[in-house]
Amino acid sequence: MIEAVGLTKRYGEKVAVHDLSFTVRPGVVTGFLGPNGSGKSTTMRLIVGLDAPQSGHVTVGGRRYRDHAAPLHEVGTLLEARSVHTGRSAYNHLLALAQTHGIGRRRVEEMIDMVGLGEVARKRAGQFSLGMGQRLGIAAALLGDPETVMLDEPVNGLDPEGIQWVRNLLRRLAAEGRTVFVSSHLMSEMALTAEHLIVIGRGELIADMATAEFVRRASKRAVLVRSPQAQALADLVAGPDVTVTAVAAGLIEIVGLSSEQVGEQAAANQIVLHELTPQTATLEEAFMELTHDAVEFQAAAPALAASGQVTPP
């Protein structure tokens, strides 16, 4: 369980996270979704206390992260930024982390085998590919058998097989009753993995709901209609909840009605239709639409006038 209340973090003039509140519950995979630079990584750094917020607070399992006697047993973290010494072997990196909590060598070896790094565990981590680095980071995150698993962009740099492996791993961890909080800038990835979504844009909360609900709400339901009597149809269906846009001569897009409703109204009024196509926005389009709105809204707010992505130092 992660509970964030009113988190605000500025780096100099730039606001990375603004008044962010959310709860991540155990037993399901919660996706943390937002475009690059929207504050996901910052939020995760705030959760484990690497950075301190200017206001607000965040607890994990009811306490601040640093107040846990065995932090790695509480939260296992994979950060997006490099967190391994390039001159040290994967084995020694994990061993040094394990020793801070009195975790034995057997667990270290188990984790290395679990992420499939057995062959290269004694090689210096500086020689690792991006994918191997991610696997090492995941091994480090799971080392302490944590109640909460928090992974920042875990599928970055993984091959399709690796991506599938991470998805299954996340589901399994959630099924074991753990809190699983995983970030991504890819809506499609989240739709496949996460049951619940926390969506942020420009450091502010956009949505906190079940993934299915988010997809349903986000997806614009439009109907594309080609008709020689397009104008007549437009006048007919126009109403407070219906928007009609002229796409080209004789081609209109109707938002707010299903294709069935449009077809039935056209038939009832003897309007000839040459084409009637339901338009389902892809998840990615829906997501971009939502976050785009957030960006526009934010740009108008004086406190957030600074443009560009916020990158923590």
């Binding site: 206390g49 047993h73 009195g102």
Partner: protein, 277 residues
């Protein structure tokens, strides 16, 4: 908060002893650390052997001034490498922590130990112990080997070598290892304050090696008043038995140098807790 996950691993709490153990793994598992430490030991022993070998072999050919200078500083041949070893051990102290910042592993370290200070103390303990345990035999080897070489050259009046039992000699020889240990801690503190390897090394070199000659630009009485209190002067009086110029007493100087190292670590500790990582 009810714990719902089915967890089976026995995990202990974070303790200072466990963090120190982890820091020991970190220290010896890096090739760069092992190299820097080997170079330090080589400087201590190698320079002593070369210097005393040259003096012993070339003694009749040395100018009277050189002979006199050697005879008035009989310990110098044995500890000639300590000055450079100060530099290499200080740099290694910097690297012990700045390497974590430049590679990013500091984030892993602070996720495991979010209270952070045990990491700094663990590094200090492990690095100080390692440095002392390795440099003490090195200075002893440097002393006895170089004295054996010098003893092989017989001169008409007196002798080139100096006995370990001579006043101040044990203090100076063992003191060299102590000074190197504290120099490592001084470097560690500076590394933790500056966080960038290059910047921290420049800072260390400026304080230890650039400040003393700069002092020569000041009026002499000012320079004489300030000099004893420079970190380098304070450090060096412990491992010499023939101090030159205005200096503090050996142990007073060493105490002051320990104070400088403690100050650097204290500032580092405050910043470590306050700063974002």
């Amino acid at each position: 908060m009810s714990s719902t996950a089915a967890r089976r691993l026995e995990v202990g709490n974070v303790t200072q002893a466990r963090v120190a153990r982890s820091e020991w793994t970190k220290l010896h598992s890096l090739r760069s650390t092992r190299w820097a430490m080997a170079v330090t030991l080589l400087l201590i022993i190698g320079f002593a052997l070369i210097f005393s070998g040259v003096v012993a072999a070339r003694w009749p050919n040395l100018s009277p001034e050189d002979q006199l200078r050697f005879l008035t500083h009989p310990l110098r041949a044995s500890l000639v490498g300590v000055n450079l070893a100060e530099l290499s051990i200080g740099v290694l102290g910097v690297l012990v922590i700045s390497g974590e910042y430049t590679t990013g592993v500091i984030r892993s370290s602070f996720c495991a130990v979010p209270n952070r200070l045990p990491v700094l103390w663990g590094k200090a303990m492990v690095f100080a112990a390692t440095t002392f345990v390795l440099t003490l035999p090195a200075v002893l080897i440097a002393f006895f080997a170089s004295q054996a070489i010098l003893a092989s050259r017989h001169i008409p009046i007196g002798h080139l070598q100096i006995a370990f039992s001579q006043p101040g000699v044990p203090r100076a020889v063992i003191g060299a290892a102590l000074v190197l240990t504290v120099m490592g801690l001084f470097g560690l503190g500076i590394g933790a304050i500056v966080r960038h390897t290059a910047g921290a090394i420049v800072t260390l070199v400026a304080i230890i090696f650039v400040l003393p000659p700069l002092l020569g630009l000041l009026p002499t009485d000012w320079a004489n008043a300030i000099n004893p209190y420079l970190p380098s002067s304070a450090a060096d009086v412990l491992w010499t038995i023939t101090p030159e110029g205005h200096t503090l007493a050996p142990w007073a100087g060493f105490a002051l140098f320990c104070g400088y190292a403690a100050l650097s670590l204290a500032i580092a500790a405050v910043l470590l807790v306050r700063r974002d990582t």
